[in-house]
Each structure stands twice: as structure tokens, then as C-alpha cells.
């Protein structure tokens, strides 16, 4: 076994948490590619706006990331405060128990059943864009309302509450707001989730939260149920909103590929997989070793942090005829780890695919001449946020 540098050793260098290159926000920083070529695992310092700087083992190869995420010897990173009801706060049998209560609501079949509802939500967002006219910001009028309204369906938020729900979500998740405003809105959101749970306890609705209350309400506390609602909001909102915005920004840079997505419905599925692979919006999946574990023949010691880079892993399996550093919406679906892997693999991924498959072609069909209202180089990306995305996307047509 090769000797490993102890955490904190001299050559340890900081790697930006999002791991994205300054010149191209979609590409990994060079250090990630360098690490991929090294046989030895790297120890790096990860500067994090939320956690402070920490030492971590950086994992960048596809197979290693997959192995690490599936390894039962790793637990969730301890990077977030424990939240009852949030799957990302649990490991092992407790995680399995809670997850099993939710999986029936997120099968491929359920995602198909949700399609008409998603189509309606997309159509109403497109109407809002059209009404706003050229100059409309797609982040505000398209990418954000779609996941919010889909989550309203999952939680059973009554129509009369939806405007307030959208406003609170936008503020609670808006990182440009002061921390106080965010905390205040997050607390309001928790209070609202508690109200929803109380309503489902009285009369459980025909939706994800209602089903959990009906079937497992006797095994879960109100706090856990509200936590489940909040988790679905947090996990299913920023991810979809940012994937939509980044996909649109990318396709505007590749008009010929945009045209394929617009004009050829047989491209939709592969295009969505390719965009997911290429964008990898949720880049940071921090873990910590619960005991000593091995990656290939190298040890990661108990207590060490492990940071797998999905961004790098998604470009690792290229071949002579598949250059994975480029975007190609027509190529056959490539393997990617954008939804993670192992026990915490994204619960909402079939729903996510459905939202993207419906929303992207619908946008380009409604506005066939869609283009950016500002030079594409001026778009501002969120490279350091936990979920990568675009701040604003003003368009014209």
C-alpha cells in the first residue's frame, strides 16, 4: 500500500468547493483532472462558506466515487445539523426504515402519473413568461416556479396557499438575502409544514405527504412528518430550478443542439441525461468514515472526511469516440453520478427526469426564436453555492 500523506501535510492545497474552473463554470478545475490521473488518493483542504475549511480525501474517478458512495462504512458528512425526517440526516437501518416509507411515491410509474400535472405547471409558467414579454427572466418566471408548484402537488398545498408558499420558498432559499431573512423564512416554512401535517392528520390527501401520513402516521411524529415535507422542498427545489436554468444557458450556447431538443422529440430523453451528466448541479456529497475503509487498496481512516467529485467522475469514462468534456445531446445516455449512488441515491430522480423532459422541449417550442437578452458571457453563475446554477437568465424572442 502506498504511504499516505497525513491530513494537513505540506502539499495539501485548497480546492474550491464547487470544483469549477474560473473560465468555464461547467468544467471541473484542472486539479480535479490531475487528481484523477494520480493513483494515490489526494488529501485536500476544502474551503466551504458554510462549514469553514476542512481536510478531506478527494475522490474523482468514476469507479471510486461509485464505490465510496455505496460503502456502508461511510456515513453522511455531518455537514448539516440533524433534521428529524430528513433522509440525509440518517444512516444504516434507520435510514432504510424511513426511506422505505417514501419510495412507493417516487417510482417510475408515479413519475409517469405526475406527467399531466407537470405539463399544466409548465404551461402556466410559459404563459407568465409570454405575458412578461421580451426581457423576461427565466430563472424567476420559469425555472423557479416549476419545481415549487410540483412540490405543492407532492405536499398537497391548497391552491389558495400557493402564492404565499412560492414567495416564502423563494426568500428562504435566496442566498442573496441576509441570513436573518433566510432564517426567518425557513422558520415560517417549518411552521407552514406543521400546519399541512395537521391537515393531513385530519384528512389525508392523495399526494406524497398525505400517503405517508395515512400509511405510517402512527409511526412518525409531527416533527418528523414536517421534516419530510421540508426535505422534499429543499431537495427537489434548488436542484431542479438550477438544472433547468443551466440547461437553458448551455443550450443557448449550442444553438444547433437546442434546435435538436426543440424539433426532435426522440432526442428528449438522451438530451436530459446528457445535460444532467454535464451540469452535475449537486456537486458536493460530503461523507465521513465511520471506521477505516478502503478505496482500491488505499485506506481512508476513521473520522476522515471524504469528498467525491461528481463533476469529475461524470467525465471520467470517455473513450476515443465519446469525448465526455463536450456536450452532445444526441449521444446515447452515458453513465453519470449526478443523482449520487448507493443508499442515498436521489429519491426524486424519476420525477426530476420527468420535470426536465416536459419543461425543456415545451420552452423551446413555445419560443422557437428564444435567445439570451444579454451577451452569454455576461451570465453570472453560482459556482460556490451547494447547488450550481445561474443567477438570472433574461431572454428575448
Amino acid at each position: 500500500m502506498p504511504p499516505l500523506a497525513a491530513p494537513g501535510a505540506d502539499h495539501v492545497q485548497p480546492v474550491p468547493i464547487g470544483g469549477r474552473a474560473a473560465q468555464c463554470p461547467f468544467a471541473p478545475v484542472a486539479e480535479l483532472y490531475d487528481t484523477q490521473k494520480e493513483d494515490e488518493l489526494s488529501r485536500v483542504k476544502v474551503p466551504s462558506p458554510m462549514l469553514g475549511e476542512f481536510d478531506a480525501v478527494l475522490v474523482t474517478r468514476y469507479d471510486d466515487v461509485k464505490d465510496v458512495l455505496a460503502d456502508e462504512g461511510l456515513r453522511m458528512g455531518g455537514s448539516m445539523p440533524y433534521q428529524p425526517g430528513n433522509l440525509l440526516s440518517y444512516d444504516g437501518p434507520e435510514h432504510t426504515r424511513l426511506r422505505r416509507m417514501l419510495t412507493a411515491s417516487f417510482t417510475t410509474k408515479r413519475a409517469r402519473e405526475l406527467r399531466p400535472g407537470i405539463e399544466a405547471v409548465v404551461a402556466s409558467s410559459l404563459d407568465a413568461v409570454e405575458e412578461a414579454g421580451p426581457g423576461a427572466d427565466l430563472v424567476q418566471l420559469f425555472s423557479t416556479p416549476i419545481p415549487t408548484l410540483v412540490i405543492c402537488e407532492l405536499l398537497g398545498v391548497p391552491y389558495t396557499d400557493r402564492e404565499g408558499f412560492q414567495r416564502r420558498t423563494a426568500l428562504a432559499l435566496d442566498f442573496t438575502q441576509s441570513r436573518e431573512v433566510q432564517m426567518e423564512k425557513a422558520a415560517e416554512m417549518m411552521a407552514y409544514m406543521a400546519q399541512l401535517v395537521a391537515r393531513h392528520r385530519e384528512n389525508a390527501g392523495d399526494n406524497v405527504l398525505g400517503r405517508v401520513v395515512r400509511e405510517y402516521g402512527d409511526q412518525l411524529s409531527d416533527e418528523e412528518l414536517a421534516g419530510i415535507g421540508n426535505m422534499l422542498l429543499i431537495a427537489g427545489h434548488e436542484t431542479i430550478a438550477n438544472t433547468l436554468s443551466s440547461s437553458i444557458a448551455l443550450l443557448l450556447q449550442h444553438p444547433e443542439q437546442l434546435a435538436a431538443v426543440r424539433d426532435d422529440p426522440s432526442v428528449t430523453d438522451s438530451a436530459v441525461e446528457e445535460l444532467l451528466r454535464y451540469i452535475a448541479p449537486a456537486t458536493i456529497l460530503p461523507r465521513q468514515a465511520a471506521g477505516d475503509i478502503c478505496v482500491r487498496d488505499q485506506e481512508i481512516h476513521k473520522g476522515e472526511h471524504v469528498v467525491p467529485s461528481v463533476l469529475a467522475a461524470n467525465r471520467d469514462l470517455g473513450t476515443a469516440d465519446q469525448d465526455l468534456d463536450s456536450l452532445d445531446v444526441r449521444r446515447p445516455a452515458q453513465r453519470h453520478l449526478t443523482f449520487g449512488f448507493g443508499p442515498h441515491q436521489c429519491l426524486g430522480q424519476q420525477l426530476a427526469r420527468m420535470e426536465l423532459r416536459v419543461a425543456l422541449p415545451a420552452l423551446f417550442t413555445r419560443f422557437p426564436t428564444l435567445r439570451s437578452a444579454v451577451p452569454l458571457d455576461d451570465l453570472e453563475y453560482r459556482t460556490n453555492a451547494l447547488v450550481f446554477g445561474v443567477n438570472a437568465l433574461p431572454v428575448t424572442w
Binding site: T103, F106, T108, Q350
Partner: protein, 77 residues
Amino acid sequence: MKIEVDDTRCFAVGNCALHAPAVFDQNDEDGRVVVLDPAPSEQQYAQVREAASRCPAAVIVLHEDAPDRPGTIPREE
């Protein structure tokens, strides 16, 4: 080919049903894998291999050498 799954360890993400819908489905109670066709026809092999390799729980085991059921009529999608 014969397909064996250990559904006690299934994470119920449905990648199998996404990649080989004629061979895998998910149950309605907790979304765990249901094998619709444990001895799929040859046309399905590529999809089934894809499904098995994308299963995050690694619970789909393929016995590649096992013979197909005698007289099986290829399924139609």
C-alpha cells in the same frame, strides 16, 4: 440468461424499470423491484445488462450462461 434479485436490499430507485421496462417493474407498496421476466429474450439482454450495472444497490444478478426457458416466445413491448 436468468435474472436473480435480492429485493430485501433494493433501494427502490427504479433504474432497472427505467432501463429495461419490459423486464423490471416496481411494486406499489414500497417501490421495490419486481422481475416481470426472469428469463428475458435475447433482444432484452443489452437493456438488462444496462439495468443491472446501474442498480445502486447491486442487487440484480445476471446468470448469463443459464439457458432461456425452452419454447419461450419473445415478449413484445
